[in-house]
């Protein structure tokens, strides 16, 4: 974007405007490895064409082991796709798909802070990508559900086998989905919300 010229910044299209009455927003984060279908899921549920926000991060902040580079740290742009669902006249839900590079997921300031919860999207062909992130979400106290994106060529496993393979605690929901369809992607978000509801409704202790 060039701000020096007279070229105006293009804002949202008429059909994508939020009602002026919307008072607050909530967010959920879709976590998953490269190519697992995060962008597809975000696009399926979003009422707007998915947008991309970006953040600049410095190599030094990423824990690169090249200490000699600290004084000449280079900036890197990390991008994240997101979509939006208007819940009511007062409330809007934003759905963020994490950046492709796993090491940025927890470095993006404010991505998980304040999020209602997360969806860990997994591909049965590459389950190992998910191990680290499950632990890190637990450590941070971010409630999550696991959604298995069914690719036509993925081997089908019973969900209880996948639960065991991922070492998921019994209370964490695991659902199957087809991220290409709106209904199925919507159901994943519903599974997360129902789980959060159960957690919130539980008596403490």
């Amino acid at each position: 974007m060039d701000f020096s010229g007279s070229e105006p910044v293009r804002g949202p299209r008429e059909a994508e405007l939020l009602p002026a009455t919307v008072a607050a927003a909530v967010k959920v984060v879709i976590v998953g490895g490269f190519g697992v279908g995060k962008t597809t899921l975000v696009g399926s549920v979003s009422e707007i064409r998915p947008l991309t926000t970006e953040e600049t991060m410095t190599e030094a902040g990423v824990g690169i082991d090249d200490l000699a580079g600290v004084e000449r740290k280079s900036s890197t742009t990390v991008a994240m796709d997101f979509g939006r669902i208007t819940i009511s006249e007062e409330l809007v839900l934003y759905v963020f798909g994490t950046p492709g590079q796993e090491r940025f997921w927890f470095l993006w300031n404010g991505l998980f802070e304040g999020a209602l919860g997360a969806v860990v999207l997994v591909d049965t062909r590459r389950l190992e990508v998910s191990f680290d992130v499950l632990g890190r979400l637990e450590d941070r106290g971010v409630p999550f559900v696991v959604a298995v994106n069914s690719f036509p060529e993925s081997p089908g496993y019973p969900l209880d086998e996948l639960r065991a393979a991922l070492d998921l605690p019994p209370h964490v929901p695991i659902v199957e989905c087809d991220a290409r369809t709106r209904e199925s992607s919507r159901d994943v978000l519903m599974a997360l919300m129902r789980y959060l509801y159960e957690l919130a409704a539980q008596p403490v202790g």
Binding site: P12, L93, Y94
Partner: protein, 115 residues
Amino acid sequence: MSNWEEVGPERFFVITRGRDRQHAVTDFDLVTLVVARSRPEPTMQPEHAAILRICGSPLSVAEISAYLSLPNSLVIVLLSELLGTHKIEARAPIPAAALPDLSLLEAVIHGLQRL
């Protein structure tokens, strides 16, 4: 998907006029909603004017960042300045405390059911 791009920090330095981003108000979340409370003026910094122009209806910080093609933290600096001069209104997100409110979750579930 994510890009690895080398970005020259000079441009961002120019936009923030060298102001330290660390000193920006950090209360803005990715989903803080922003509404313009004033019209863009020709004497304004172009980025400020652009924000006022697109925020006639509420937009989240993430959306502003997307439309302006500027990094999120830089947009927050610009928004902090606009908030400081009362040019915008910021609607804070509902904080998901330890556990979110049941009525909030019910509202989201009902909203999703209508999709």
